[in-house]
């Protein structure tokens, strides 16, 4: 929209003619929605309402709409209403009316009157005449009366019993019987569109403004329809799948609280929780953030209450155990995420006093020992003990308590105004980091050794506080609830492989194309190839993998082939976005770097790539979203069992061995060369098995797949929005 004018210069209130036009538009809209509702089966056309068939109500409504439209036109033409119609409704409207009447008259003459092919000959003049009438008369008549006639005709046909819900039309060419229950809603929708368009046009008094109003109404309706299909689809899948996914979940309240706490913290850290200070579309975003935060807090309070009264909470097949235990793996996850955020937001503190330096040094030694012990345990895969004392937890407790002490002292000093801390007490950011590290160490210890760990009555850690059958079970086994574990791991491995293969290639190529290459045949060829790859159908990639990759990697479909094929698909997606990101790095950056005497490569490495990184990462996230849901190539190059009973053990089957034959160093991984499943493939497998009793499992899988893919998309879109906005500031 041109921004040259934003508001009307003159506003003269609403006249009764305008209000009447508005009523027609509203009526048309209601008719349209009602008809759509009957298509979805929410309202039955064939029923009765107090002895009168529903179809007759519909017909009455349509007749009223048609009459209303006609009255609008007549009032404007011969009434006392001041409108601004043009001399003609225009060629476009004329053509639409010609086609509409041609088809209507043709169908009536050839089928209802039984004239066959001759009927269409009769229809020709009817269509031509109505088109002529539309164009030749003044706009207010041409835009309303043919529409009125059609809408009234529809109403009369339904009311007169020519088309009833029980009526069927069996066109020979189509070999199908089209019942009245679908014809009536479709005709109603068409009538609604016509009447609504005419009414909207009349509302602005016809003329150019009227036509604009009519056109905008139709376009907005289209967008509204598309968005409602999107929302309907998401809600539908969610409603069908959510209880399948949640079935039989058992979670410890402590673990749940920990996860919730992390969510809350992330929201508070990165979200905008103050709608009052935001403006524009940010207001909506911050309202959503605030609502989520409040929800999290409420759930957290419920969990605390559960722990307090020591009663398990269950509903919708979900059970929350009132334990304060925290699962090792969730704890590890939360700890790592929090530590990552913490490290990113703090610099290194400096110390000016002798004792401060010493305290800092000892903390550093403690954390160093902790990390070393943790590393050893990971490598050995067993507990590290000295005598009868487990080293890692002991270290963690000592360091953790020390740091927690400092932390407490710091907080108290910050809260009260009288206490002054000695300067050697390490700052808050440092101690928080150490406490988190200790926490991670303990979680890691429990996760590896499996021994429970407890510290007083409050916080204790064991493994196995979370049981989520749908996500943790294989899809086949004796007496188990079906789950998507193998498919999920398959998808994770395939996506990881594709990313490691394609992202370096794509980013490298983007660097060469934007920084080194001059415009030449070669770069143009690469451009064409990238665009070609971008639009190549996924099934063609699958065929390529089948012909080229599969024979070279073991001769049967495998995870590795799938990784490479999806990598090839990811390549153009990441290449295009990375190139755009690098192109949008301002030339001033490069010039400034060159002016400082930095070489071209160092400029690229330390200026261009860091500046383009957000764009590249956004591209990778969106690309991953797209390939994670890709099924067609997987049919050809992955093709695993329909219901796998085990997940691929990729990590455990790596083997390196040295021999005297080429290639001398043999890196093998049989698990990578096996067939497997993936989330979209699992869904396809359910369909090929005929759905049937597996329908709930199918809906659950759909929801998980949709959740995974759309999360990637949502993050990608949000981060792009964020960084674009930053760039334009």
């Amino acid at each position: 929209m041109s921004e040259a004018y934003q508001s009307k210069l003159v506003y003269d209130g609403g006249t009764s003619f305008e209000r009447f036009a508005m009523a027609v538009v509203a009526g048309a809209f209601i008719a349209f929605i009602f008809a759509a509702g009957t298509l979805f089966g929410w309202v039955s056309v064939s029923g009765h309402l107090g002895n009168v068939p529903v179809a007759n109500y519909i017909a009455g409504g349509i007749l009223a709409l048609g009459t209303g439209t006609g009255i609008l036109g007549l009032l404007s033409r011969w009434g006392a209403v001041r409108t601004t119609p043009d001399r003609s409704a225009g060629l476009g409207v004329g053509v639409v009316q010609t086609v509409l009447w041609l088809v209507t008259a043709g169908l009536i003459a050839s089928h209802t009157l039984g004239l066959g092919g001759i009927g269409w000959l009769i229809a020709l003049p009817v269509g031509g005449f109505s088109g002529y009438l539309t164009i030749a008369t003044r706009e207010d008549v041409g835009a309303t009366l043919p529409a009125t006639a059609f809408v009234c005709l529809v109403g009369a046909v339904i009311l007169g019993g020519l088309i009833t819900p029980a009526w069927t039309w069996e066109p020979e060419a189509f070999d199908a019987s089209i019942p009245g229950t679908i014809v009536i809603p479709l005709l109603t929708m068409l009538s609604g569109l016509l009447a609504g368009w005419a009414g909207a046009s009349a509302y602005e008094g016809f003329g150019t403004r009227g036509r604009q109003n009519g056109a905008f109404l139709l376009i907005s309706l289209v967008v509204f329809l598309v968005l409602s299909v999107l929302v309907f689809l998401l809600v539908f899948v969610f409603e069908r799948g959510i209880f399948v996914i949640l079935e039989n979940i058992t979670i410890g309240a402590g673990t749940a609280l920990l996860l919730l706490g992390m969510g809350f913290f992330l929201l508070a850290r990165y979200g905008d929780l103050r709608p009052a200070t935001a403006d524009g579309s940010d207001t909506i975003v911050s309202f959503v953030h605030l609502a989520v935060a409040i929800l999290l807090a409420l759930v957290g309070i419920t969990l605390l209450y559960t722990i307090g009264v020591d009663q398990s909470l269950s509903g919708y097949a979900v059970t929350i155990e009132p334990t304060t235990d925290i699962g090792a793996v969730p704890g590890l996850l939360v700890g790592i995420v929090l530590l990552g955020i913490h490290r990113k937001s703090n610099g290194n503190p400096t110390h000016d006093s002798q004792i401060g330096r010493r305290v800092d040094e000892s903390l550093r030694i403690g954390t160093g020992l902790l990390v070393g012990a943790a590393f050893l345990e990971v490598v050995m895969g067993a507990e590290l003990t000295a005598g009868r004392v487990a080293i890692l937890p002991t270290l963690a407790i000592v360091v953790g308590i020390l740091a927690a002490g400092f932390l407490l002292a710091n907080r108290t000093a910050a809260l009260s105004e009288t206490i002054d801390l000695p300067t050697w007490v390490p700052p808050l950011s440092r101690t928080v980091g150490v406490v988190l590290l200790a926490f991670i160490g303990v979680c890691l210890h429990v996760a590896i050794t499996g021994y429970p760990f407890s510290l007083g009555p409050v916080g204790s850690i064991t493994s196995g506080t979370l049981d989520w059958p749908f996500v943790m079970n294989p899809s086949q086994g004796l007496g188990i609830q079906m789950g998507v574990m193998p498919a999920m791991l398959g998808t994770i491995w395939i996506v990881l492989g594709a990313v490691t293969f394609a992202v370096p290639l794509a980013v490298g190529a983007a660097v060469y194309l934007t920084e080194y290459a001059e415009d030449s045949m070669f770069t143009r060829a690469v451009d064409v190839a990238t665009n070609g790859l971008w639009s190549t159908p996924s099934i063609v990639f699958g065929l390529f993998g089948l012909a080229f990759l599969v024979p070279r990697f073991g001769g049967s479909p495998s995870i590795f082939a799938a990784q490479l094929v999806l990598g090839f698909m990811l390549l153009p997606l990441v290449l295009i976005t990375s190139r755009e990101a690098m192109k949008s790095v301002p030339d001033e950056y490069r010039d400034a770097s060159a002016a400082l005497g930095v070489s071209q490569w160092d400029t690229i490495r330390s200026v261009v790539i860091p500046a383009a990184m957000p764009g590249v990462i956004t591209g990778v996230i969106l690309g991953v979203g797209r390939i994670a849901g890709e099924t067609a190539p997987l049919l050809l190059v992955l093709n695993g069992p329909n219901f796998p009973n085990a997940a691929p053990g990729v990590i455990s089957s790596f083997a390196v061995d040295f021999r005297l034959q080429p290639p001398f160093v043999h890196v093998t991984n049989p698990a990578l060369l096996e067939r497997a499943s993936a989330l979209p493939y699992q869904l396809y497998a359910i369909i090929t098995a005929g759905v049937g009793a597996d329908a709930p499992f199918g809906w659950g899988t759909t929801l998980v797949l949709l959740g995974v893919v759309l999360t990637f998309f949502a993050i990608g879109i949000a981060s792009r929005r964020h960084f674009r906005r930053k760039l334009h500031q």
């Binding site: 376009i219 070609g532 159908p537 063609v540 024979p551 090839f568 199918g698 759909t702």
Partner: protein, 369 residues
């Protein structure tokens, strides 16, 4: 004739200049750099050749390349970076070439056996492996019908959506609609397929008393899937129209809708047609939703060719559903790749053409400024 001569001369001289440039660059390098760069390029070419020939030396060559690159990274980082990024760019170009070559190679046997019969619409048009009849006509026709229905949905709706986002919607609404349309693009096709198989197919089958897999229903679903592509490409084209042109129009006292009709849409027309072309490509190449919904009967629709309530097979569903029943080397196998070649040529071609149209429009708009 003279023109061709001068053109050839141009190309030759350009090529000579380029070669001279490469020699000059090579001469400027010191010996170790030259050796490293040459070794890297030779080794990776060797790896690629070994991979193509399925040689046992492939991995060894790859190791050698990695080692040389490692040495180069430590001693001549800038040069190594340039060589490696160049190789990566070449790999992108190579990918499309490999796809084309391998598809065509596998498709040759069936072309040799069936010849023009494969696509000749006035023959028997029958697909029967047991009788040695290989005709892709039913699949091509199925693709044509579903694509036509799809584009009837995606074209008007997509353009309307693009107009809404770029011209009509107020700022706050645009910020909701645009991401929503992008999110729509993210819904995997198998999800549409699952809904189509469990909900739409039975619904339409019951309602119209037809067998499941109506081309019409598949076309609708595919059209809805191609919609986001059309919207975002057309929206790009519409927002590339300079604001000054629209302002000029509005200054004449016309309405927004008139400005759109007579300024925005004509200016962005090539971009919008590129969007529709891309949508057509998406619809032709769409696989999963159609595969699970269609009946896989490999015959032309009856009783009339345009019976959209009947079901047949499309090129993509043909490939997706047949794999698993064939073994490499059979004519059937080869026919799958022939279908793949058609898809590659048509869809990739459409993608490239639409991209070129779009670039031309942007260039013209820039020149006009």
């Amino acid at each position: 004739m003279v023109k061709i001569h001068s053109r050839i001369f141009d190309v030759v001289s350009l090529f000579r200049r380029r070669t001279a440039g490469i020699f000059r660059t090579a001469a400027e390098l010191d010996l170790p750099s030259l050796v490293l760069a040459t070794a890297q390029i030779l080794l990776i070419s060797g790896t690629f050749a070994g991979f193509l020939l399925q040689s046992t030396w492939t991995v060894t060559l790859l190791y050698a390349f990695l080692v040389v690159t490692g040495i180069g990274w430590i001693s001549r980082q800038a040069l190594t970076a340039k060589v490696v990024t160049f190789l990566m760019t070449a790999a992108t170009l190579l990918t499309l070439g490999l796809i084309a070559v391998f598809l065509i190679l596998e498709a040759i046997p069936v072309f040799r056996e069936a010849g023009l019969e494969l696509v000749w619409p006035f023959g028997s048009n029958a697909w029967s492996v047991s009788q040695g009849q290989f005709s892709l006509v039913p699949m091509i026709w199925g693709t044509a019908i579903t694509t036509a229905v799809a584009i009837l949905v995606a074209g008007p709706f997509g353009i309307a959506g693009a107009l809404f986002i770029s011209e009509i919607a107020p700022g706050w609404l645009r910020e909701i609609v645009k991401p929503a349309v992008e999110l729509l693009a993210g819904i995997p096709s198998i999800v549409y397929g699952f809904i189509g198989f469990t909900i739409i197919n039975p619904y339409i089958g019951d309602l119209l008393e037809i067998n499941p897999g109506a081309l019409f229903a598949i076309g609708l679903v595919i059209g809805f899937m191609a919609l986001p592509t059309v919207v975002s490409v057309a929206e790009d084209a519409l927002s590339a129209v300079p604001e000054s042109m629209k302002d000029g129009s509005v200054a004449m006292g016309v309405t927004d809708w008139q400005t759109m009709k007579s300024v925005s849409i004509p200016t962005a027309f090539s971009g919008i047609s590129a969007a529709v072309l891309l949508g057509v490509g998406r619809a032709i190449g769409e696989t999963m939703a159609a595969t699970v919904m269609i009946s896989h009967s490999r015959r032309l629709p009856a009783p009339e060719l345009y019976n959209v309530f009947d079901s047949t097979e499309t090129l993509t569903t043909f490939i997706a559903s047949s794999y698993g029943h064939v073994t490499p080397g059979q004519l059937f196998w080869s026919a799958l790749f022939a279908a793949g070649v058609f898809l590659l040529v048509i869809v990739t071609g459409l993608g490239i053409v639409s991209q070129l149209i779009e670039q031309r429009m942007h260039r013209k708009l820039r020149e006009g400024q």
